[in-house]
Symmetry: C2
Subunit: 302 residues, 2 copies
């Protein structure tokens, strides 16, 4: 079953201590859509400017992504640039130009409104609300967010959470939103805000999945060489909802597998700039890394 | 098979934001011995003063711990006091009185020298060397350490590492000793220093086990209420070597199980001050939590 993904599409300039790359394909919906496309058909909703390179349109199409919801607006595409410190743990935004994204209203094509699986990638909570106002009884809604909205649109974000099935955020965001230092307490506190599932991404420490009657701790893939962490969280969430869509239903067991697939795809994402590694990815690469996740986490108790 | 454990025995005064408890049984060897005793017979080597409460001697004896190596020296027992911040993530030492520990020389009783499994709990590396100078070809030697020795006795610690089979330390110590920010790189760098196995404890993020041909990522038990984290690392290492001793040999599969048992016992330790929870522990409590570790980490890939 197909996944509707709504979020940002950007041209990124990314600096690491080693390299700088300008005008990369970026944005939460770009990463999430390509990641989800390995597991289920994707319908993308976003906006780009008239300067958006055709090669990126072709990239989406090669992944079978439905672009009926992609708006091409007069003007320049949303641009972001940032720099990573040598350990990749801290990222500093150098500049943000909203451009056509400033007036973006996510209007869904008619045949998108029945999408059974919906991912609200990281955009302003009001836009996420607007998407939910248009869809008809989806089976499962996943919402991502970021510190910026916790700081500037907390009321709108809190109003959104009872409307979604799952909330996905990183450890610092989970602590920030709940005021809890312990991630276990933070996870429980997130559930109290409305969603049935809460997923806390912990970077090199893996991810935690919370629901009322289940708790899952997923390991991280042991990466020694990270080239560009941009989009890892979006890839995680995209592969997660793609896996749920492929299963056709959200159960704790499906969500566990989805968290692992999120970790698998995110682990590939960071091996290269932009989506460069992901567009090379074969199903057998994913299967091999899934098997590695099994190997690195299994034990015989006693 | 039995485990020889050498380390400190202390009387601790522990402050948390909620409570203060004076004159608790503490010290690396106390925690490690009681933790190991759930899995294998333990021979303890340490020193206490003439003020050491008889009730703590009885506590060790009730756990079946061989005290032939316990020295009782004229003077006061080693004392430590510290305070935890409200989130338990930072600990500040308020005072340290070495007392009889200042002149401690770990001399092994004759029948301890053939111990097949040896744990060098956290004490000065020179004392750890001195223990190894006395033992005869043990099957497996586990070494713990701390930031203090990395700062003040690094050469002695580095000389020790090729003499041991496994090194166990926490994430900040691993980064400090290797100069690597990535824990994956740090783990590999620890192996290059000599031991066959390196175990990095990550607190609420679980633990990582490295060896040349294996990597294991263990989850943490999802604790919501921590009462006193003192000794958690020592309990982890004690249960770990106890498990290896019970198996009678160190293989990657045994080490994985040992890391889980370390996490299990450490998770009980922090539920109460000192060894108060551990001395209540029944084999069925351990078995139940081992099963919970299985539940919280399993998934069906696909």
């Amino acid at each position: 079953m197909s996944v509707l993904i709504v979020g940002s599409i950007a041209l990124d300039t990314v600096q690491t201590p080693v390299e700088t790359h300008p005008d990369l394909l970026g944005g939460s919906a770009s990463y999430a859509s390509v990641a989800a496309s390995f597991f289920a058909p994707v319908k993308l909703v976003g906006v780009v400017g008239t300067d958006f390179p055709k090669k990126f349109i072709r990239l989406f199409k090669r992944r079978g992504i439905d672009l009926a919801g992609l708006q091409i607006a007069e003007g320049r595409t949303f641009r972001w640039s940032g720099v990573y410190e040598w350990d990749f743990n801290t990222r500093r935004t150098l500049s943000t130009e909203l451009n056509v994204f400033e007036k973006f209203t996510p209007t869904l094509p008619r045949d998108y409104r029945d999408a059974p699986f919906v991912m609200l990638a990281n955009i302003h909570p009001n836009l996420q609300h607007h998407v939910l106002d248009q869809v008809r009884r989806p089976k499962f809604i996943l919402c991502d967010t970021m510190d910026l909205w916790i700081n500037t649109a907390k009321a709108e974000l809190l109003a959104l959470l009872p409307r979604v099935d799952a909330l996905c955020l990183n450890d610092s965001e989970a602590r920030h939103l709940t005021g809890e230092t312990s991630l276990i307490k933070a996870g429980r506190a997130l559930l109290a805000l409305g969603p049935r599932y809460a997923i806390i991404k912990k970077g090199e420490h893996g991810a935690l999945l919370f629901c009322d009657d289940d708790f899952f701790s997923a390991p991280a893939y042991p990466l020694e060489d990270i080239h560009d962490p941009t989009g890892a969280g979006d890839c995680f969430a995209g592969a997660l909802i793609g896996t749920v869509a492929r299963a056709g239903r959200a159960t704790p067991a499906v969500l566990r597998r989805a968290v692992i697939n999120g970790s698998v795809v995110a682990s590939f994402d960071v091996e290269s700039f932009s989506l460069n590694r992901l567009i090379q990815l074969k199903p057998r690469d994913i299967a091999r890394r899934q098997a590695e996740f099994v190997r690195l986490s299994r034990f015989q108790p006693g």
